[in-house]
């Protein structure tokens, strides 16, 4: 495990940010860290990086306890973009990267810096002061800085903030490809659809506690109750359809206009149409509402409310 939280609790005055949080990020994964605003995502990341200390429990980075023995080596193999890019505004994009390379003691980092600037689409603005960059450009530069030195673990806090739609897609694809370069990624984001597309694992926290953790398929599949089907029949046949589907143990609800919502252990939509056809009711529309991350997230976090 490259990042490990073990019963971590943290409070700021009376505000409880984390309560006994435990989860781990396995090597080679792209792990999404989700939660409503104020749920403790950034605090968790800051604890992992040793920027703040836990009140209870412990975190470890690349096997080294945060702030303990081996932590300096571990953090040098970790790239981070926390709470937006922190840039020296008077320095150019290239100089910002050179400063970070010096801090990481990377010698002869010039070619890597140019490669990364190209990778995030800033090669042509490399000599421009970072203070004059748009939010999206700053975010790209912050991402490039976090990738300096080919870290084993990359921690990204809202990396697509301020990016335009094309930029979001570009950064998502870039993050998805990082495991090919031997990097493991922990990414927090509000964009659930993006997380679903780029992550193979997901951890959801709410009110400082863990509510779901596992592979994307496990977490999305954990919504329970099987899938929901949208069935359309002639409006005058709705009462008959309700009568014949309800005894089968399915939860059937009329949504008006001949639309029925059918939930239950149905693996194949033809089962529904067969039952209805046997009663002389013919289906004019049949579609499955597959559980997605957004639905799971909202159900696990009380609609995303704190």
């Amino acid at each position: 495990m490259l990042a490990d939280f073990d019963g971590v609790s943290k409070s700021f005055g009376r505000n409880v940010a984390l309560k006994g949080l435990s989860f781990a990020v396995p090597e080679g994964s792209v792990c999404g860290l989700l939660g409503p605003n104020g749920s403790g995502k950034t605090t968790a990341i800051r604890l992992l990086l040793g920027l703040t200390r836990p009140d209870a429990g412990s975190t470890s980075l690349l096997g080294a306890p945060s702030g303990g023995r081996g932590f300096t080596t571990a953090i040098r193999q970790t790239g981070a973009l926390v709470e937006g890019p922190s840039l020296y505004s008077r320095a150019s994009a290239r100089q910002n990267m050179q400063i970070q390379a010096a801090a990481l003691r990377l010698h002869r980092a010039g070619p890597e810096i140019e490669d990364l600037l190209r990778l995030v689409g800033l090669a042509e603005r490399a000599g421009t002061s970072a203070g004059g960059f748009s939010m999206g450009m700053k975010q790209r530069l912050g991402l490039a800085i976090s990738l300096l030195g080919s870290p084993r673990l990359v921690i990204l806090d809202e990396p697509t903030n301020g990016l335009d739609p094309a930029g979001i897609v570009e950064i998502r694809e870039l993050i998805s490809r990082l495991p090919e370069r031997g990097m493991t990624v922990l990414v927090s984001s509000h964009l659930l659809s993006e997380v679903e597309l780029m992550c193979d694992r997901v951890t959801i926290i709410n009110r400082g506690g863990l509510v779901a953790d596992g592979t994307m398929a496990e977490v999305v599949g954990s919504s329970g109750g099987g899938s929901t089907w949208q069935v359309t029949v002639a409006e005058h046949e709705v009462p008959a359809a309700l009568t014949c589907l309800s005894p089968l143990g399915l939860a059937v609800e009329s949504r008006g206009g001949g639309l029925l919502s059918v939930s239950g252990p149905v693996s194949d939509g033809s089962q529904i149409s067969c039952v209805l056809a046997a009663e002389g009711i013919f289906v004019s529309g049949l579609s499955q509402d597959k559980p997605d991350l957004e639905r799971v997230f909202l159900s696990l976090t009380d609609g995303g409310q704190l």
Partner: protein
């Protein structure tokens, strides 16, 4: 423009104004023109520079980036202070070395001259004073964890808290400003300090001044060590 450059420009402008005054009216007694035109501005610039070298990280939120590249906070603390002390030493000496011949030429118009021994004392006392103030500025930024807060706290400390305390009988002999003045008076007996002298010897005053600086820097270190990085 970065803060250190503004400080340097302010010191240079002040030194040039002082040079004009010496050209017009002469050097004055006890090299007072140097104290007013170069010494005092350098002290203020030292406070601001000491505050800036730590505060720039708070102002731009770059401290978290620095500490996620190398988490050793003590190393950051020491290296910043070393850079501040070395730069202030170099700038103090350089400015005085440049000013000496220019002020000498200007003073010569009025028949004034500058003894090398006096000048040596002046440079040394300015250096001690600037080093103390750069530590004070840096420490107060660390204690307040804010660039603006640190500069404000430093100026309030120097011009309000310390000057008020220095007027209190007995207690006043142990304030930062009085201890610094005692040390400077030991190096340069002719100089009048901002807060006047005390009953302490130069060695005792040096001890008191060191205690102040260690205490302030220590508190700053504690805040950096234990505090959350924004």
């Amino acid at each position: 423009m970065p803060t250190p450059l503004w400080c340097l420009i302010a010191v240079c402008v002040s030194a040039l104004l002082g040079l004009g005054a010496v050209w017009q009216w002469g050097l004055g007694s006890d090299l007072v023109a140097f104290d007013i035109a170069i010494g005092f501005p350098l002290e203020i610039a030292s406070v601001v520079f000491g505050a800036w070298i730590f505060g720039v990280e708070y102002g731009q939120n770059t401290q978290r980036r620095t500490l996620t590249a190398d988490p050793r906070r003590f190393r950051l603390f020491v290296s910043k202070f070393v850079v501040a002390l070395v730069l202030v030493t170099l700038v103090t000496v350089a400015i005085h070395l440049i000013a000496l011949p220019l002020y000498g030429i200007a003073a010569d118009r009025h028949g004034d001259s500058i003894a090398i021994a006096d000048y040596r004392e002046l440079v040394l006392s300015s250096l001690i004073s600037n080093l103390a103030y750069v530590i004070l500025g840096g420490a107060l930024v660390l204690i307040t964890a804010s660039m603006a807060g640190g500069v404000t706290a430093a100026l309030v400390f120097i011009f309000v808290v310390d000057s008020v305390l220095s007027a209190v009988p007995s207690v006043g002999d142990y304030t930062f400003g009085v201890a610094l003045n005692d040390v400077l008076a030991g190096i340069r007996p002719s100089a009048d300090g901002l807060f006047g002298g005390s009953v302490n010897s130069t060695v005792e005053a040096a001890g008191i001044l060191t205690a102040w600086l260690v205490a302030l820097a220590g508190l700053g270190w504690l805040r950096l060590w234990r505090g959350d990085v924004k």
